[in-house]
């Protein structure tokens, strides 16, 4: 069970690194696109467009900071709250596997949501950051739910 867990976690770690690198590249491209929009709008004299682009630029930087600083802290905090050894025997191993996999999946899901919101912000979309935050909340809720479900399952199955 631990070998399966380590293989799956290594796979997810590689996915995290790739997603974070692509996220960084797209943040910079989105910033440059917004600066291009600011320059063309200022030449045309479109004040509203300029301020929209400036606010989009700031929001992209904020999303980047949230993804790189906020998401790892949220995941670490939630993962420490997950009981990784509910009961003993197979249920304990299963609990350890489940808690580590849930943490990895939730982290990847949050980063993917931030990635989508950056892509959307780069083309002027407005509503997807709210969807990304909802996805983060869903992942957190799932982790909290699992923190209750693993001991309950151990108790229900009557192990230890």
């Amino acid at each position: 069970m631990s070998e399966v867990s380590s293989i799956l976690l290594a796979f997810m770690r590689e996915a995290w690194l790739a997603l974070a690198g692509a996220f960084l590249a797209f943040v910079l491209l989105a910033c440059l696109a917004q600066v291009l929009r600011v320059s063309s709008a200022s030449v045309l004299g479109a004040n509203l467009w300029v301020w929209e682009s400036v606010s989009a630029l700031l929001s992209i930087v904020l999303i980047g900071l949230f993804a790189f600083i906020g998401i790892p802290q949220i995941v670490r905090a939630l993962q420490s709250s997950l009981p990784n050894a509910g009961g003993c025997g197979p249920i304990s191993e299963l609990g350890t596997l489940a808690s580590s996999l849930i943490g990895g999946l939730a982290a990847l899901r949050m980063l993917r949501a931030a990635f989508t919101s950056v892509l959307s912000a780069s083309i002027g979309g407005s509503s997807t950051f709210a969807k990304a935050l909802i996805e983060c909340a869903e992942a957190m809720f799932g982790m909290i739910l699992m923190s209750a479900a693993i001991p309950l399952a151990a108790w229900f199955l009557g192990t230890c």
């Binding site: 690198g21 491209l29 291009l36 030449v43 900071l65 600083i69 995941v75």
Partner: protein, 88 residues
């Protein structure tokens, strides 16, 4: 496993960065030319407000281009330093 995919994405992103940086230079040059034309026309007709607005426009355009080429790479370096390892 994901590294070749990331390398391809980064290559495309580098191309896109070069394209957009070139486009920004062209837009800034055209905008600067437009403001110069506006300023000279204003100066010729005695429209001091038009001329001063054109000068302000040129200065603003230069500031925007400098922001793009000096500030954005610094933001990228800062975010790269913040790039976290997998938290699980």
């Amino acid at each position: 496993m994901f590294d070749p995919i990331l390398q391809q994405i980064l290559e495309i992103a580098r191309d896109a960065w070069a394209f957009m940086a070139g486009l920004l230079i062209i837009v800034a040059l055209l905008g600067g030319l437009y403001f110069v034309l506006q300023g000279t026309a204003g100066a010729a007709f005695g429209a001091s407000r038009t001329t001063s607005m054109a000068i302000i426009g040129v200065v603003g355009l230069v500031i925007i281009v400098l922001f793009a080429f000096l500030f954005l790479p610094q933001v990228g370096d800062m975010l790269r330093k913040f790039q976290p390892a997998a938290p699980f």
